[in-house]
Amino acid sequence: MPFEVSDLMTDDVDSADKEYLWTLNFGPQHPATHTTLRLILTLDGEKVVKAVPDIGYLHSGFEKLAEDLDYNQYVTIVDRMNYLSPLANEIAWHHAVEKLLGIELTPRCKYIRTIIAELMRLHDHLLNTGTSALDLGAFTAFLYFFQQRELIYDICESASGQRFHSSYTRVGGVLYDVTTDWVNKVRSFCNGFRAVHAEVDGLLTRNRIFIDRTKGVGVLSKEDAINFSCTGPIARASGVVRDLRKDEPYLAYPDFDFKVICTNGGDCYARYLVRMHEMLESIKIIEQAIENIPAGPINVDPEGKAVLPNKSNVYQSIEGLIHHFEVIMPNRGFPTPTESIYAATESPNGELGFYITADGTSKPYRARCRPPSYIHFSVFPHIIPGLMLSDVVAVLGSLNIIAAELDR
């Protein structure tokens, strides 16, 4: 079936001879939308003729809030964007801030952030694969994968003290150095993961029902993926060979051996396959990194005022305490260049970029987030017409729409 982008503006579903069409409000509260998003579907029997997304139910003005919080405080807000992989957002945010300020991280911090970024990719793909299978009726895969997510929550807790919204990164480093206990937890997670992955792989990948529901559904061609600005697993499932970890290496990614997973299918099944294989590549990166974490300081030496001093300094010396307050206090902070920067990382969902405009003070003048969910959801009304109502959940699940990131 060749893919054609329907033009939303020209179809006349409101005309009199189309009276047999009926309208279905999908959401905003519906179990299969996972979060609060609303679709107004025009249906011909069970066939979708037109879909108009109505978003904004979770809009809470994150970008406006950024203008009133400093570069370290805002990390608590970016946490809440894509809450399935909160630390990936923090890493993207501080990646942009550090690029703005010209801070080069210590090797140890780069490795730890890389491990965490890959754990977050697993975190996100595990839930996404699990729930998109759950929406199609496969309950077991969801439970198996959620068990693995619990272990990642434990790892987050071990590193930062928080399971969910960790607020772990800081400008020029992270909150606490990791412990041996954390390293052991990551190791044991890696050891157990492949078996669970193989089990779910056996449950889904060659499952007749699952393939029938996903193969050839929601096809996105390579040209359209590029034209619609798709990135991440969705673009790679359509054959766009692009991964910022390889193309614009950041953190410690150049040190590791891993593959970029691409397919040409462009349908829901291809997106599922890309995510499944990316998980194995992530595990490979974590296994390489966890055995080779360099020794040394975790934070950049706080010579300038931008970086917070180590906690032990804060608690045990007056200089550290003064330095801490200099950075934290609202009328002090650190100077920034009067410049703008766009920096992006490969988040689990795609290119998560921040466009920061700094005005010299310690608060961003403007912090634009380029949310991958938002961009990917704009594709949805173009690929859904012609499919059945039951395919709506399959396509929604495979696009991995996180409403908190969508609306910010």
């Binding site: 904004g56 406006k64 203008e67 690029k99 600005s229 766009v240 766009y342 910010r408």
Partner: protein
């Protein structure tokens, strides 16, 4: 310097474009009347086939700013991985730009968000409605003259009671 510099200089003259660089971000500043032609040239001839982001910045309180709104187009060449940022400035009372939707379909929602947040109109956009804010909202929240706490809209939203619904 960007690989698109000779191309743009050939089509638009070297004097009309202001190039700048901050770390790895290469930026070109173009006038609002030529922004569509520049984007079209970059897409058709320069190979910048992906529009990564469109966003705005309200420069009302920005140091040494002369114009009101900065609109930022982040472009990407997916073959070479090269990035280019196209900047343009628009001003009150009626900030308007041509829509990039005919070039990139991805511009659809990005431009709607810029319209929603800053009130910049994009002519030629097929469906320029508010996207994140409710339709009855009248202000543009990311403008700098809009207060962080709002103007009391929250208390005045129409409430639908159970008996009316």
């Amino acid at each position: 310097m960007s690989s698109a510099a000779p191309l743009l200089a050939e089509h638009f003259g070297a004097d009309s474009l202001v190039w700048s660089q901050n770390r790895d971000n290469v930026r070109v500043n173009v006038g609002e009347d030529r922004v569509f032609e520049v984007l079209k040239c970059l897409k058709m001839l320069g190979g910048f086939d992906m529009l990564v982001d469109v966003t705005g910045v309200d420069e009302l309180e920005y140091p040494d700013a002369t114009d009101r709104f900065r609109v930022v187009y982040c472009l990407l060449n997916t073959e070479t991985g090269e990035r280019l940022i196209v900047l343009t400035y628009v001003n009150d009372p009626n900030p308007t730009l041509p829509s990039a939707y005919p070039l990139w379909k991805g511009a659809d929602w990005m431009e709607r968000e810029v319209f929603d947040m800053f009130g910049i109109r994009f002519t030629g956009h097929p469906d320029l409605r508010r996207i994140l804010m409710p339709e009855e909202f009248t202000d543009y929240p990311l403008r700098k003259d809009y207060p962080l706490r709002g103007r009391g809209e929250r208390h005045n939203f129409p409430v639908i009671t159970r008996s009316e619904s």
